[in-house]
């Protein structure tokens, strides 16, 4: 009985912390989007870069991240691609 109660209550119990975590992520994302003036092209750039990288390495969508930061007068475009650890994931360019 207690055991069942535990499972029934637990998903509800932490909805506030779930809400906070979801908010933290989306708010941070949207701030970046709205605070940088020329960010419209970033999603497309990200998509095309991903396609280029995929010609050589098998990566998932979430393995690429792209940020534009303003440092005073200049902007820094930061591109982060996490390559998989596994060597097998490297595509043989001759065959494909």
């Amino acid at each position: 009985m207690n055991f069942l109660n535990y499972f029934r209550l637990s998903p509800q119990k932490n909805t506030a912390s779930l809400a906070k975590e979801r908010l933290r992520i989306i708010v941070e994302h949207e701030r970046r989007l709205h605070n940088s003036p020329n960010l419209d092209y970033l999603p497309l750039l990200q998509k095309e870069l991903l396609e280029v990288v995929r010609k050589y390495v098998a990566i998932e969508d979430e393995h690429i991240s792209i940020h534009l930061e303003r440092n005073g007068d200049f902007e820094v475009l930061e591109l982060n691609i996490t390559l998989p650890d596994n060597d097998n994931s490297r595509k043989d360019s001759g065959k494909s």
């Binding site: 509800q12 119990k13 932490n14 909805t15 506030a16 912390s17 809400a19 906070k20 979801r22 908010l23 933290r24 989306i26 708010v27 949207e30 701030r31 709205h34 605070n35």
Partner: protein, 266 residues
């Protein structure tokens, strides 16, 4: 010196008009000449919350268009001496508010009033921008709920870019977080965002917390700002908000549990 305060939120239904009415009334109760303006053109409701809906003859848009004078349009509250209401137009479209027109009216009001409270419409469109444009300070009304917090963050972004203070490189609009419809019991149970959670996300100073209260609906039913209801916990919380806004150290008299919770601990 007059201060223009916008009451804004992005999301609808979080308590902007209730807050505008209660806050303006609270300032007037403290002896300050105060006017509260309804910026929700086409959907006016502040008059109803303030209980003066049958006394509206001229409105904000009439004044902007020169169809009536400011003195004809502002309604003197019958309960609090230094409190006045400038109602929105019910018939025009939202574009009726022009930047120039709003500027002229606010400048004219500044000659007479210490505090000009602007009740913003929901959304981030024209009306909301007009309401915040000339603000010196902002009350960001937020419910402990994800969509409200997200929308508040958008509004905070607009306050720092779409106001005359931003356009003219003046000091930024002073932002205050006001959390409404707060239920301490649900926070303790872990199924409602806490005030600290909301502050962590929005990163603006907390001015106060208004508890979820039956008296808010009762006040709006009867057209009485909740700050005039001495028995109301929400009304008392709004009075504390006003005192804190005026720079007073407010000891958290009522609801010790829920207020000491954030003001006490970091």
């Amino acid at each position: 010196m007059s201060t223009v305060i916008v009451v804004t939120s992005g999301k609808g239904g979080v308590g902007k008009t209730t807050t505008s009415a209660a806050f303006a009334t609270g300032l007037a109760l403290r002896g300050h000449q105060t006017v509260v303006i309804d910026f929700d053109v086409g959907l006016r409701n502040l008059d109803l919350i303030m209980g003066c809906e049958r006394r509206v003859v001229y409105d904000f848009v009439n004044v902007i268009n020169g169809e009536g004078t400011l003195n004809q349009a502002i309604i003197k509250d019958k309960r609090v001496d230094s409190l006045f209401i400038l109602p929105a137009s019910q018939t025009r479209d939202k574009e009726a508010l022009t930047l120039k027109g709003v500027y002229r009216v606010i400048e004219a009001l500044k000659k007479r009033f210490e505090y000009i409270v602007c009740d913003s419409p929901a959304g981030i469109e024209h009306g909301a921008i007009m309401a915040m444009y000339f603000a010196d300070e902002a009350l960001i009304v937020t419910n402990p709920e994800v969509s409200s917090v997200r929308d508040s963050d958008r509004i905070i972004g607009l306050l720092s870019s779409k106001t005359h203070r931003a356009a003219q490189n003046l000091d930024p609009v002073k932002e205050h977080l006001l959390i409404t419809r707060y239920a301490q019991k649900r926070v303790t149970k872990g199924d409602m965002l806490s005030a600290q959670d909301i502050q962590d996300i929005l990163a603006i100073p907390l001015l106060g917390i208004i508890p979820e209260s039956k008296s808010v609906l009762q006040a709006s039913n009867s057209g009485v700002p909740v700050t005039l209801d001495k028995a109301s916990d929400a009304g008392q919380a709004y009075l504390e908000v006003v005192a804190r806004f005026l720079g007073e150290e407010v000891s958290n008299s009522q609801k010790k549990g829920f207020l000491s919770h954030w003001f006490g601990k970091k």
